[in-house]
Assembly symmetry: C3
């Protein structure tokens, strides 16, 4: 496996193997060791679970760890636009940042959220794209503008751990939040559930549809897996759900338009998962969320602190799922080759792009 | 030992064992190794000695290290109030942050200074309290609103290293500083010296009394140990002191009142430990401070650079004392249990609070 | 070797040994292991290559790593002035910061750029100077106000790897940049090339001379090595160069004068290395830069992405050169001595300065 950008790029069988391995690691199986190999972690966005679980996972695998932070006190501001005349704030281009880090480590993991201003720009996932194109090593997406595949892998692990049937109903519900958040998590939850063969309902208010290309990929995955995907605004759809998966996200229709977004969501504060929602779903229903979660805004204390909530296990499974993923990625690395040799005369090939 | 919040919660014999072990480690004893176990470090406040000594201590013990920082570029803003409607700046509640990190590591160490605005709030030590209640693992206090037990442990180690008699006189003196600082260090110094059986004088201007509950605990400890605790404004009390321990702190009477505090301390700039203070104490006197220290504000260069100052040894002993503490805490961990099992049906117990 | 501040302080033979070792490490030689020894990294300035390569290098050598960051969320503000009355922003003096860290680790590496306001102050390199004087352990300069010896070591490694002749012509060319940058890199490039015996041209506009003492040292080094150093404003000097080494830096004449600097460089935007510059040099010419580099400002995409650019190899060689340097510094450490003993009576010696 050459890194991971979107869970949807894997075969179902590959995911099933990773999940099985994650569950074995959770039960105490020893992780493989890759002494002398190195993992680089690069964070351009805040993180608690991701930092902690990747740091610990790297230690379990015996990896050398390189960790860098964007922002003040960290790495230089990174330009991603091709052909840019870099006379602004950014001091380094992703081409160099990626190529250099690819010389220091064997695998890179990168977190870079959507900037939230320009949808066309964010859709291209420029930071992840840059690292994937220019680093020369496998890249793991620790949440980008578009996808959060490690969360999806942990969530599938959690569903299997809880013995939630493959065809069970999962309601991915929008929730109110003071800010328009990126869609990486709902995109990945939808993709995961569709691949797993679940009956997926995207429960969201008007104006909060997920991206058409994401929906289309999910439809195609559901078709292969025997699952289904549909959208609804109705709370009636909660009935019979095995999983209520809450997440807030911003409207694509009002992308980068703070005032328009605020107006659109102003009347939607009742979109908060409370016990009445869980009762509507039925006694079999579990509550899931990727965390961090705003209490009494996205979900009521009574649900989060109650027995239906499995959010802490979801988070724990980040560690196991990512350890399984790192094992697979490191095991697939080519043996160390002898270093590149140099002629005395420059050639015309674009050596930076090897 | 199940973590450490306040030195005063330990038995004197436990402290003596930790100090003896710290001195042995200082002399070159090999630390125990806990391969495959993990320590998490979480900093919400600045740190030099604490970060460096915990990082090094963890390495000496062979621990996996997870390190997280609050603030920009780090973890999410953390809410500590119970029942909060989280529609403000904080994106994550301490209940989830603690419970999640408790799944990734075996022991957590947390630094979170007093916010300094609301005394009632700070007295509750909300961040440390949250991590202790919700993480499910032992928590070590790396300086909270109220206590700095690792400093106290290092200071006791330093006193024993210097063969300062158990009944010797220690003057904990207030000093001027441009800002009202928290009381965690003076609280812990007082507690440590009282437990050790010393004759403790809290030398401070009017308006700068330590908290009554802290004084009361120190009085009780002194009674058990054969020591004594009293307060004084008089420089005459320095005479015969084996230790002048300087520290600045804010007035509890003007807590959160910046202008009132500034007015109260304006006439107190002469509260700076210089050679005249040390001469007054006598030739046996040592100068102690927890660092960082403001030169020529809290203490004169002549004292800090002179032979009476033992501040660098105090700091070095942070490493040895904390390594001894970590050894004890990790050695007391239960053997790894098999993972929690799951039924298919949610129960009514509050599983998050296990 | 007792740390490294400026490459010019080494003997040429020492540099040749380090470079040979760096090339061997690049070819896959195993690094020596120093288990139980510790390296401290302290960053007061941004970094990508330096952080990543020192983290990885430390892991290759089996070192315990202590890493600290200046600025928000990191260590305390550090005062460097002797005799300062510390009632301003800085909470800790470099004397204590250095002495304390020297107790926690065996070798310290520090990055602290020029502040850029006061030339006399920056010339003294106060942060590096403080750590070198007060830490009691070898200090490695990870780029200070004046020097970047690790970059110079990597660059010499790169030149040898590329089999660039010892007497080849190297043009160190100034380039336009939106901000006046420090001179640490051009100073070190000049020093390195002069020591290596190269024909060095400092190609820069009027007003952008390097410091006279740096030029003088380079002249002396060139005299010993059989090389030469001269300055020129003419593009004709590029002809026959084996290396075009680009770097922007600020004017010493307008130091700390933002408006004056901006006016001086306003007409100089054409100082950008493009294919016409490389053609002028000839087919043998390589393009070098320390990175980060501003594309289409300091150098055109066509050069950086073309076959003449060796910037990624330069960066990779940071790892190998520094690993060689760390090996040499750690191998030269004295065996661990028994700890300092203490008498009960203070003496008059300045113990802090041992």
């Amino acid at each position: 496996m050459n890194g991971l950008y979107d869970l949807g790029e894997l075969e179902t069988g590959q995911v099933e193997q990773l999940v099985a391995r994650a569950l074995a690691l959770r039960e105490g199986a020893k992780a493989l060791r890759f002494e002398g190999r190195a993992l680089g972690l690069l964070f351009f966005s805040p993180s608690l679970r991701t930092q902690a679980s990747f740091q610990r996972g790297a230690a379990k695998l015996g990896l050398d760890l390189v960790q860098l932070q964007g922002g003040a006190g960290g790495v230089w501001g990174i330009e991603t636009r091709s052909g840019a005349v870099m006379d602004g704030a950014n001091a380094e281009h992703v081409r160099e940042a990626a190529a250099v880090l690819g010389r220091f480590v064997d695998v890179l993991a990168v977190r870079a959220f959507a900037a939230g201003a320009d949808l066309a720009h964010d859709r291209l996932d420029p930071m992840l794209d840059g690292f994937r194109r220019f680093s020369g090593v496998p890249v793991i997406n620790m949440e980008s503008a578009n996808w959060h595949p490690c969360q999806a892998l942990a969530d599938w692990t959690t569903l299997d751990m809880l013995r939630v049937p493959r065809r069970a109903k999962l309601v991915l519900t929008w929730a109110w939040h003071p800010k328009p958040l990126p869609q990486a998590v709902p995109n990945s939850t939808l993709t995961m559930a569709a691949m797993r063969g679940m009956e997926v309902i995207v429960h969201r208010p008007r104006g909060y549809a997920l991206a058409p290309e994401v929906m289309a990929q999910a439809q195609a995955l559901a078709k292969s897996s025997g699952g289904s995907v549909r959208e609804s605004e109705s709370l009636d759809e909660l009935q019979g759900a095995h999983v209520i998966y809450a997440k807030s996200w911003g409207s694509l229709e009002r992308y980068g338009d703070a005032a328009g977004e605020a107006a659109l969501r102003a009347p939607l504060r009742s979109w908060c998962v409370d016990e009445s929602w869980m009762r509507r779903a039925g006694p079999q229903a579990r509550f899931m969320h990727c965390l961090p979660v705003r209490r009494n805004v996205v979900v009521a204390d009574e649900v989060l602190d109650g027995p239906r909530s499995v959010v802490i296990d979801q988070a724990e499974n980040r560690l196991h799922a990512q350890t399984a993923l790192l094992e697979t990625v490191f095991a697939a690395l080519p043996a160390r080759t002898s270093p590149r040799t140099w002629s005395d005369t420059p050639t015309s090939e674009m050596e930076l792009q090897r």
